[in-house]
Symmetry: C3
């Protein structure tokens, strides 16, 4: 799949200059770009390295002197960093997941999937789970009992969604992300050393060694729209009500959210 | 499944007052409780928010003025925080795993499972593994060669138990917990920069770049009774003897225990 | 499998003394060694505990007085810590994976596997993936589209290798290691609070709440030879070019490498 400079600029709502019929196969850093790459040189610092590569076209900044850089064409977006979002989306080769329900997937008859949902090989969808239109569930995932996933989700491999987790639209989960583990909550029959020490500001009194009793997790996790979870992220369910993640929030790899946490909107 | 106030109080060994025939469907925080919920208001601070919700019954503290709060019934446990353990256990809806051996599970003929063990879909149990009575192994787990799991274990999905890991009774593992990885242990043919610097208190001498040789892991992991491991926990095997986790210890999500570690009893 | 003291010493290129026909079944720490164990007492401190155990033979240091310790035989390597590498490799019982392609593995017809590759149960190898000679891919792994793994790899269970990840020879991955997640990279339509604050050294100006747009990940991960990744490690793909891990580098459990990172050779 190749695009002309003009097609790319139109898709980004950006200005194209020079020979806008040049065809671009992929993106590259300026110093290592080939002749059919679009070099990403969105600041003067990166533009200086264009001469180390062989790019004929580059994405620059609004008033960049593209001809002085020896280029045949250029794209000049108003906000180059934001243009990267649309540009990388156009060029994303993806994971190559096949569409449709793989025959090795195990889907409970009591699960509800929209017609066009993809479920990858060796993925399990438990009873009562719901998956919205346009969603892609990757390989080897587990979607728990009564869990709900909105429209246009994209889950990569080995993702765990626990029972009754409720997720909005456009959810993205990287490999090994886990939502809906039991909360880490224990209590001793008598006040523990920690409780006693807090209460008395340091005096441990006559507390003795005790075993921990488990406080079971009755809540789950509620996730808004446009949320992304990185690889091996862990989000615990809430004790009584759900742990909450607001619309637009993104969690990086290996982030841990404990039980009962409430995360707002658009947190990064 | 609903319970009367009296049934709940009896199960907890707590005092019930008022109309103890009221039926409870679930637990709730005071401010968001419905009429058939049991509100959890175990301190005056939480009790103040009862009027924001519609609860007719609440779990309070020993001498709470339940009538002054406008309630029809109440449960008054001696140690409300500890009562939460029994109460949440009664109300736990669980993950909804089906019982029995799922036909897609791959169980080596040389594995030994007690009669009533549950093994979830797409789980693998390798040769020589042993699983005790009452244990539930969730979906997509891997139980390694010669591993041993005691009675009444509860493993959720995507759990890894390495070869020869030895686990006591009542073990709980959250999704993606991993026990029995190879220890992180390497050595250089000649003393490395780190060793030389330690020995000479700072003089790096004439050490040179070297490749790392692997010290293989011959031990495994020994886990006591009543241990719980959170999501994506990692516990390495010991080099010569086993890494050890004592009875009653609980590890939160994403905890890492290195090789040869010895963790005591009831650690949290 | 047992070895004589002489066989072990020969394999390590070390000096053997005493009754070198003694047979050794396994390694042990000095204080808990049995009569057919080789005690590891490679410094005077550990040698002091030999009398607490029943070892007849030990691995010591070059000029150790093995007879004074009451031993019948000993191995005296020049660099005892390095000798541990060869010794533990000889004695490693491994995970007991069966060789060959398991019938439950799902291998795309367009994947290329060398003749002697092992693929464990419930593992997926996607289209265009390549796996080199002598490699062992454990159970429940996912090898993505167009990924390439060199010779003699050893992957344990639940490992994720994303699309187009390119790995050299002798790669080792512990359970749940993940390479090739999408990078964590987002941008706002207008300059965000963070950008504005950095630029103005503290003045937030009139920035307003905005949604995050995703910068898609077009690169992947390039991994050199002799690399090891611990359990639940996460390595993100690069945005335009690959994230890089140099030859001989080892990552411990739960290490996270972000997108575009370049890690050198033999890093520990």
């Amino acid at each position: 799949m190749t695009y002309t400079i003009q097609q790319i600029a139109d898709a980004l709502g950006a200005k194209a200059v020079g020979d806008t019929t040049l065809r671009i196969a992929k993106l590259a850093e300026p110093a290592t770009a080939h002749a059919d790459d679009l070099a990403l040189a969105m600041s003067p610092k990166y533009a200086q390295t264009l001469s180390d590569g062989a790019a004929l076209a580059a994405m620059l900044w609004p008033d960049a002197d593209w001809q002085g850089m020896g280029l045949k064409a250029a794209i000049l977006p108003d906000r180059p960093r934001f243009a990267m979002s649309g540009l990388t989306r156009m060029m994303d080769p993806g994971q190559g997941f096949e569409t449709g329900i793989h025959p090795s997937a195990i889907i409970d008859p009591a699960a509800q999937l929209a017609d066009d949902v993809t479920v990858g090989p060796l993925t399990i969808v438990a009873a009562g789970a719901q998956i919205g239109a346009g969603s892609i569930i990757g390989p080897q995932c587990y979607i728990g009992t009564g869990a709900s996933i909105g429209k246009n989700a994209y889950l990569r491999d080995h993702v765990s969604i626990g029972a009754r987790v409720n997720i909005g639209d456009n959810f993205i989960a990287q490999p090994g992300a886990r939502l809906g583990g039991d909360g880490f909550s224990f209590v001793t029959p008598e006040p523990s050393t920690v409780e006693e020490t807090r209460k008395t500001l340091g005096n441990r009194g006559d507390t003795k060694a005790q075993q921990w009793a488990r406080i079971h997790t009755l809540g789950s996790v509620t996730v808004g729209d446009d949320v992304e979870c990185g690889m091996n992220v862990t989000v615990d369910s809430g004790t009584i009500r759900d742990t909450m993640i607001g619309d637009g929030t993104k969690l990086d790899n290996l982030v841990h959210l404990g039980h009962n946490v409430v995360v707002g909107k658009n947190c990064l």
